[in-house]
């Protein structure tokens, strides 16, 4: 044990002595590890962000969107979900503790006195706040009576409040929505921007009945249906049941594609992670290539170094170093350098990701995982590419080493 430590102390000394070799190897390893660090942190950041969003979306909920995927792809908004569908789902799914139909109208003009704003109006049933786990900061949520009576009341997103009222008090005031006077009953908490760039706070929420009749002139169709289930573990199962149930209700024959789409938290995560995926792939490639290059730089510089230090190896062998001691020393030199490179790379990675988050609002999350991944990879490079030079050094014949 102490012998191995003795040998490794020689590795440390050589790392200090051969500064040029050390710095070249260190820099090339550091660049590779830096990009690997950013990749791991970015992937973690993407997942973390995705899970945060799912927590808002509701991990126990699915969203049914009317219209087939094909129609949506070409920008059409088919209406296929009916109020009757909503009632049928409510009756047939005992595990569904919330069934919320929603409808939406885009680009609706709203105004308060001379302040005008164009926004997105959501038609919801009662308990919008509870259904979307989206707290009301001021005032109160929509009630059953509001919905049943088709009342002219609204919850406002903070963006709308800012545009219409500035710093003024909105609760109880009347705003004009597409020519109809509507009383503000509540304000939703600020949610910011989605990863796709939509401002969540730029919306007006009104009873679904009011929106359908008075804004859309619609009696039958809703655009979205939100369903929350009590047993989250069986969500995938419920999702499939719901899909088959709606197909049956819509009389879709086998082979015909769905005329609606069911979205679960899983799909949201996949979508959000795919957003960062391309950058991760690019960085991954860069990181992998630069680590490979770093490895070859290391191997070549070490082979040169072994040649240069033939006499040293001969002396060590003469005074009693075994082949194993020599191999351990050179391998130790390689691993010490790559470890230092790994640490430097981690620091560069942190700085680099600061730039990334600043420039691209990229979600980055640093944890011990990024650190561990970098460290393990740097060891792998050190051992992998240090083996050959170390073997070359250990196989030198002491007589020739001394003579040379």
């Amino acid at each position: 044990m102490s012998r191995s430590l003795n040998v490794l102390s020689q590795s440390l000394q050589a790392v200090k002595a051969f500064k040029l070799r050390t710095s070249f190897c260190l820099i090339s390893v550091a660049l590779g590890i830096a990009s690997i660090t950013i990749i791991v942190a970015a992937t973690e950041g993407a997942y973390k962000k995705a899970f945060d969003i799912v927590a808002l979306f509701g991990p126990d909920s699915v969203l049914v969107i009317g219209g087939s995927e094909e129609a949506r792809a070409i920008g059409e908004r088919e209406k296929t979900l009916t109020l009757a569908d909503v009632e049928a789902v409510e009756e047939s799914f005992p595990h569904a503790y919330l069934v919320l139909p929603m409808t939406a109208a885009a680009n609706i003009n709203v105004s308060y006195r001379q302040n005008k704003h164009q926004t997105f109006v959501v038609g919801s049933t009662a308990d919008y706040s509870r259904g979307w786990t989206w707290p009301v900061v001021q005032g109160s949520d929509l009630t059953e009576e509001d919905v049943r009576g088709g009342r002219n009341v609204a919850l406002l997103g903070v963006q709308v409040v800012r545009n219409l009222f500035g710093d003024g008090e909105p609760i109880g005031k009347y705003i004009i929505v597409k020519g109809i006077p509507v009383q503000v009953v509540g304000v939703l908490t600020e949610r910011g921007t989605t990863p796709t760039g939509a401002n969540m706070d730029d919306r007006v929420v009104m009873p679904i009945t009011t929106v359908m009749r008075k804004l859309l002139n619609e009696r039958k169709y809703v655009s979205v249906l939100r369903v929350r289930f009590t047993d989250q573990a069986r969500l995938a199962h419920h999702q499939e049941e719901l899909r088959l149930f709606l197909r049956q209700r819509h009389n879709l024959p086998d082979g015909e594609p769905d005329d609606f789409r069911v979205i679960s938290p899983k799909e949201i995560i996949l979508f959000l992670v795919a957003l960062t995926g391309s950058l991760v792939l690019f960085l991954g490639l860069v990181g992998f290539i630069s680590l490979l290059v770093a490895g070859f730089v290391l191997a070549n510089l070490f082979l040169l170094s072994v040649k240069e230090r033939t006499k040293e190896i001969g002396i060590r062998r003469a005074v009693g170093a075994t082949r194993g001691d020599i191999r351990l020393q050179f391998l130790g030199e390689a691993v010490v350098i790559t470890t230092l490179g790994g640490l430097a790379g981690f620091i560069i990675g942190i700085l680099g990701s600061k730039v990334l988050t600043f420039v691209a609002e990229f979600p980055i999350h640093f944890s011990w995982k990024a650190f561990a991944a970098g460290l393990v990879l740097s060891w792998l490079v050190g051992i992998g590419f240090g083996l050959k030079p170390a073997a070359t050094a250990s196989n030198l014949n002491p007589i020739e080493a001394i003579r040379g």
Partner: protein, 222 residues
């Protein structure tokens, strides 16, 4: 008692197709405590003989008993350990590690030991350094020393593990005559303290310090 006993040592090198017999049956006995000089012209096989005596090379045939053990049967690792314990080397061009200090150079043989027989190897190395008169230079790098001083560091390195045999290969070849005399005096002093010293040289004046001169010519002792 003999420290080194060589019986019918032969060494053949293969240069492509050609077979070169460098040692052609060397019989040699070096008693414990002797100061011997091996002399011979270049190409006589004296370097090969030194490598074999120093356990750096193994003979093609024959028997070599060093300190009571037939070393021709040892593995590469066992030979390393045997060199470490029983032989100290002094080379013509000193062979110190340029990036290590004088003290670290002297300590080199103590690193390759599973368990040190010196409680405090640093102290041991400093004692030897003061014996060769370089205690004050312990923190210097070899490049800051004169040739004679460097060779004295090499001598200290050869002694640090207290080997029975000191093998000196042309130890004065790169030194002026005054410094050479100093080094030879140190070797004689080591011999007087009981070390067996084997000197390899082609210089009559240097060989004269030894108590026995062994001449080698064409791979045979003459």
């Amino acid at each position: 008692m003999s420290l080194c006993l060589l019986e019918d040592i032969k060494k053949t090198y293969f240069l492509g197709e050609q077979e070169v017999e460098v040692l052609r049956g060397v019989d040699l006995e070096i008693p414990d405590g002797e100061f011997a000089a091996i002399m011979g012209p270049s190409g006589s096989g004296k370097t090969t003989l030194m490598n074999i005596i120093g356990c750096l090379d193994v003979p093609t045939s024959g028997r070599y008993v060093l300190a009571g053990k037939d070393v021709t049967q040892l593995s590469d690792d066992e030979l390393s350990t045997y060199r470490n314990e029983h032989i100290g080397f002094v080379f013509q061009s000193f062979f110190l590690l340029p990036y290590a200090t004088v003290l670290e150079n002297v300590l080199l043989p103590t690193l390759y030991v599973d368990r040190s027989k010196w409680g405090d190897t640093q102290k041991r190395a400093m004692e030897i350094l003061s014996m060769v008169g370089l205690k004050e230079r312990a923190k210097f790098k070899p490049g800051q020393l004169s040739g004679g001083q460097q060779q004295r560091v090499a001598l200290a390195r050869a002694l640090v593990n207290d080997p029975e045999l000191v093998l000196a290969d042309e130890p004065t070849g790169q030194l002026d005559s005054n410094t050479a005399a100093e080094i030879m005096a140190l070797l004689s002093a080591m011999n007087a303290r009981g070390k067996t010293v084997v000197l390899i040289t082609h210089d009559q004046a240097i060989a004269a310090h030894a108590s026995r001169i062994i001449n080698i010519k064409d791979g045979l002792i003459v």
